[in-house]
């Protein structure tokens, strides 16, 4: 299972590691370059100091060098080196630090072997500008070193100032002698400094990575703490405590809207849960009553078959069984309607004949309560509808009208044709008056004005079933009370093509 904490930690470590690695490379390059530049600049300065000591007095080039002022060139330990060449490559002067590494002849004479071994760079410049070339090399004493070579024009200098001015004036720059100074020194100090920097950067990187590894999970956990609290609170919400809500006040601004939305969702879930529980409870109750009647009658009848009115037990059991059958059928229809598992097959339906059939099937109920059903004054049209479901709807409506009417009342049926549609209205006087609040609930499942079945055996699902099927068939349904009569109307019933009245 994915973990936000682990994902954040891993992502952060990888990201920080990558940034640090790239930063390390960049810093390393920059520092190395800077160190090299600093090192080379220092070397060049040193070499140029030697250049300033190189003079041309009009006849020859000479180096005005004194060892005592630059002892590093003759130090026995870790010395530095310089070589001064004529422009043609012959040695003019070498530092004493070469002593021991060259034979005596080479010490004072131009040494081709040295030149071959330490080849002069290929200077490109041909004009009066100096040219500087840096190279890495191994020093005569075996250490790694770096060398700077500067090709330059020796400056005119003579003790006779007049002659010096004359020479300056007479010898053009391009005819003055060229010289090359090569200054070499060890570069191990540079390498060590670079290595120290490397180690420092690597150390810093590792410390930062370690800090990230340690701190990020903790920070992540701290950041996720409100979510964990919410998770704990949600865990306490059970079917027995559906009224519990999670804390949405005082949460971080990122969490607060989530908590509020979750609470809104919980409200809806609780409502649905209560509806579902109520539905189950109502269904169980409605089923239990006829079952208990059947069972009780059967048990008593079987135990005492000589009971005086034993024959009525059979009719009672039959009636309860029919009620149970009707109830189960309606519940199944309701469930199928909820699931959308209803096939609507629209065909021509003779509304007049359908009403006659239904009224005929309810004759026993009408007779028992002395109810009269007044047929519609207008001739009912042939309509386009699903006959099975329409019959179920009208049967429920008329059965309801009979049940909720006082004895001896009349139930009215009105039909109005309006263009391609017709409207069917059923109305009846009410044995128990309905209030405006009641009218809001008449289509609710298991809603009953008389919770104790004063108006007969009703589960309170008939009208909700009718509404459900009306919605499925695109038929409008409305209920209201007028002049102490309950009216219910089915509207937008489509009339069959080519026929407006029944044959």
């Amino acid at each position: 299972m994915r973990s936000i904490s682990k994902t954040i930690t891993l992502t952060t470590i990888v990201s920080v590691g990558l940034i640090l690695a790239l930063g390390q490379i960049a810093i390393d390059i920059a520092i190395t370059r800077w160190l090299n530049e600093q090192f080379d600049t220092a070397m060049e300065s040193r070499a140029r100091a030697l250049v300033t000591l190189t003079k041309f007095d009009g006849t020859e080039v000479e180096l005005d060098f004194a060892d005592e002022f630059m002892p590093e060139f003759e130090a026995p330990v870790e010395p530095q080196y310089f070589e001064l060449f004529h422009g043609d490559g012959t040695v003019l002067e070498r530092s004493h630090s070469f002593d021991g590494f060259l034979d005596s002849r080479s010490r004072d004479q131009p040494d081709k072997a040295v030149l071959t071994e330490h080849r002069l760079p290929e200077f490109r410049f041909q004009d009066q500008h100096d040219e500087v070339v840096f190279t890495d090399l191994r020093l005569p004493d075996g250490r790694d070193g770096r060398r700077v070579a500067i090709k330059f024009i020796a400056q005119i200098e003579n003790e006779d100032e007049e002659l010096e001015d004359l020479l300056e004036a007479q010898i053009p720059l391009e005819e003055r002698p060229r010289a090359i100074i090569r200054f070499s020194r060890e570069r191990e100090s540079l390498d060590q400094t670079r290595q120290r920097f490397h180690l420092l950067i690597i150390g810093i990187t590792l410390i930062v990575l370690l800090a990230v590894v340690i701190s990020v999970p903790r920070l992540t956990r701290a950041g996720l703490r409100p979510l964990i609290r919410i998770k704990d609170e949600i865990g306490k919400i059970t079917p027995q405590s559906m009224d519990r809500r999670i804390t949405d006040q005082g949460q971080p601004i990122e969490i607060e809207p989530i908590a509020k939305q979750f609470n809104l969702m919980l409200n809806e879930i609780e409502k649905a849960f209560i509806r579902e529980r109520q539905f189950s409870s109502d269904v169980a109750h409605e089923l239990r009553t006829p079952v208990s009647e059947i069972r009780s009658l059967a048990e008593v009848g079987l135990r005492w078959p000589d009971e005086r009115d034993i024959r009525t037990y059979f009719s009672d059991i039959h009636e309860s069984a029919r009620h149970l059958d009707r109830l189960i059928e309606n519940l199944l229809y309701l469930c199928r309607s909820d699931e959308g598992n209803i096939e609507i097959i629209v065909g021509d339906v003779n509304l007049g004949k359908l009403l006659d059939d239904i009224i005929s099937s309810l004759s026993a109920e009408c007779e028992r309560k002395a109810i009269r059903i007044d047929p519609p004054a207008n001739k009912p049209p042939v309509i386009a509808a699903d006959s099975q479901w329409l019959k179920l709807m009208l049967h429920n409506l008329l059965f309801n009208a009979i049940s909720h009417s006082p004895d001896g009342a009349n139930v009215g049926i009105e039909i109005d044709v309006d263009g391609a549609f017709c409207r069917l209205e059923i109305h009846n006087p009410m044995s128990i008056p309905l209030t405006a609040e009641d009218m809001e609930n008449v289509f609710q499942r298991f809603w009953r004005k008389d919770t104790a079945r004063e108006t007969g055996r009703h589960a309170g699902i008939g009208l909700s079933l009718v509404k459900s099927y009306a919605d499925l068939m695109g038929i409008g349904i409305d209920a209201w009370v007028l002049d102490e009569r309950f009216h219910i109307t089915l509207s937008r019933i489509r009339i069959s093509n080519g026929a407006t009245t029944a044959p």
């Binding site: 409870s281 169980a284 109750h285 409605e286 239990r288 009553t289 079952v291 208990s292 009647e293 059947i294 069972r295 009780s296 009658l297 048990e299 008593v300 009848g301 135990r303 005492w304 009971e307 009115d309 009525t312 037990y313 009672d316 009636e319 309860s320 008389d450 919770t451 104790a452 079945r453 004063e454």
Partner: protein, 221 residues
């Protein structure tokens, strides 16, 4: 024993009344909550079988009114409501038992018997009165291996006296045990039943079990 059934289902009324009468109980039936309350407050019932969903007045309201009037009649709720909260509400409002529909008639009978025993602080269904034994669960009386041939009314009177040993029961109280709302018997009927009981007991050489306290009523020691 006298039982009131408060139930709006006519079919259940019919079967319960018939079955319980055949078991020797005197049974009254009320159709709705108002009627049930009126019956309960004036009928001196030993057990009331009470539905919860009743016309005019809910079963819980009936229960509440009965308990407010300090009636200690045993009340058994017989309801299709099976939720725990319904049972708790019923029992907390003063019901002594709760049975969910659909139910077994035998179970209902057994529970009624248990309530009757509780009412008279009798743990066992068997009551021994000297040489005779009364099985209140089967509503029969024995003398040795011989079973008495008492009528239902005689058995009701004997059981009631046996459940209340040492207490003098007036003829009116005993009359209430055998009269339901639809029937009427005079004081003399009790004298006739008691006389018949004594005669049948004497036939088994049992004399003086049911005593008379002149001007007050009958009792068993």
């Amino acid at each position: 024993m006298k039982i009131l059934v408060v139930e709006d289902s006519k079919k259940l009324q019919k079967s319960l009344r018939a079955g319980l009468r055949r078991l020797g109980y005197t049974v009254d039936v009320a159709d709705d909550g108002e009627e049930g309350t009126a019956f309960a407050l004036h009928g001196e019932y030993d057990v009331i079988v009470l539905d919860l969903m009743l016309p005019r007045k809910s079963g819980l309201d009936v229960l509440s009114d009965i308990r407010k009037s300090n009636l200690n009649t045993e009340i058994l709720i017989l309801s299709a409501r099976d939720q725990t909260r319904d049972r708790i509400a019923g029992l907390q409002q003063g019901a002594d038992d709760y049975l969910v529909k659909p139910f077994s008639f035998d179970e209902l009978h057994a529970r009624i018997q248990a309530l009757v025993r509780r009412r008279f602080k009798q743990k066992s269904p068997i009551i021994t009165l000297g040489p005779i034994t009364i099985d209140t669960s089967l509503h029969i009386a024995y003398h040795g291996a011989e079973c008495f041939d008492f009528t239902p009314n005689e058995m009701s009177i004997l059981e009631y006296l046996a459940f209340n040993p040492g207490r003098v029961m007036s003829p009116e109280t005993l009359l209430n045990q055998i009269n339901d709302a639809d029937s009427y018997s005079s004081r003399n009927a009790i004298e006739v039943h008691v006389s018949s009981l004594r005669k049948k007991l004497r036939a088994e050489n049992i004399d003086g079990l049911i005593k008379t306290k002149r001007g007050f009523g009958y009792f068993i020691e």
